[in-house]
Amino acid sequence: MSPSVSALSITTFIGALGSLAGFLARFGRKMDLEQWTVAARGFGTMLVWLLMAGEIYTTFTFLGASGWAYSRGAPVLYILGYQPLMYVVAFFILPAVWEIGQKRKLQTQADFFQARYQNTYLSALAAMVGVIAMLPYVQLQLAGLGIIVEIASYGAIHRTPAMIIAFTIVAAFVFVSGIRGVAWASVLKDILLLFAAVFIGIAIPYHYFGGIGPMFAAIAHARPQHLVMPGSTKNLGHSWYITSVLMTSVGFFMWPQNFAASFTARSAKILRRNAVFMPLYSITMPLMVFVGLTALMVLPHLSNGDLSLLTIVRQTFPAWFLGVIGGAGALRRSSPKIFTVQ
């Protein structure tokens, strides 16, 4: 089997398995609108965790964090900064949002503004801002998916058909299973990405430098300015860091899909307790950063930093492993939650 065929068949297999989980999630439940959008407010700790923390493991986790580390350097630290802080915000606001949602049987973010402020214009505005904000987000996630499939197939599949196919499958299982499908489809994805991230985050620096410490020592010697802000950029310094971390962490649960996901929980206590521990889930982000930094030293002349992780994985590991990364990344695709929010 040629490398492209073996990588691609594994990618497809994983994608199919994850989608199947999404479709099957429907069974054994009577489907009505409340079940479809907010799982009849029945999710326990694990499914709420997957739905919310799973949002960390987007295409951005893999491509963006390593890409920023590669092309910008220390400004990538803002990702390590906003992730724990957004859960501090979640700790305080989600239980309150949940309580109002429970009392008034709310299903969307716009519902919340209607119920809380009794103002139809405000809730219409919230819905509109949500949809408009979502468009570039979807575009970003789809583009990431396209890149992953294109590289995992060694160029055999172009990114546009890959995006169309994935988008159709996700839309289909979300249509069938609603938010339950979203949560269950991310079980496989999270397990795969977690293991893949830990493995490549440790193995790649080890392979080229004999460890993470020596890798940093090599960069500190060759390009010390890359490791403190503003890194290899002109203007991403400390005031940029503070404002970006604040905006991203405080704003994270303004995303309609993240906001409304809190309605799926069985109790406010589940949301609060998950918010305490979710920063631990971000422990894979620094590993992706290490991969991007290793790539900078090993493959310094890539035209697009966002490709650094996939390129170095392709160069370091056998084709089937690239297929696993491709499959996990393809499962992440365009945060399927977005289909259930408006």
């Binding site: 220390a74 630290l77 390590l80 900064g81 992730q83 724990p84 802080l85 859960y87 501090v88 700790f91 305080f92 309150a96 309580e99 109002i100 460890g211 993470i212 410490g213 020596p214 940093f216 020592a217 500190a220 010390p224 490791l227 403190v228 802000m229 400390h238 860091y241 503070i242 971390v245 604040l246 962490s249 206590k269 609060r272 307790r273 918010a275 305490v276 521990f277 920063p279 631990l280 971000s282 422990i283 620094p286 950063v289």
Partner: protein, 74 residues
Amino acid sequence: MKRPHISSVLLGLIPFIAICFTVSLWDRIDPVVFGLPFNFFWLIAWLVLTPVCMWAAYRLEERSTASDGEGGEG
């Protein structure tokens, strides 16, 4: 809806200060800790320390909910 306890809000502010507002104090390479530049080490450490702060806040919130009976009306 119950307002959060003032102490848990203060506990929530600790990670914001450590991670966000003090950036110019810790954004440096030296001292290298466990092979990591200091800024990387600092933020990775706070991935673990943030849950410690919030666990304390969680305990506080749970205790005050328990003593109020069922949280009250909002």
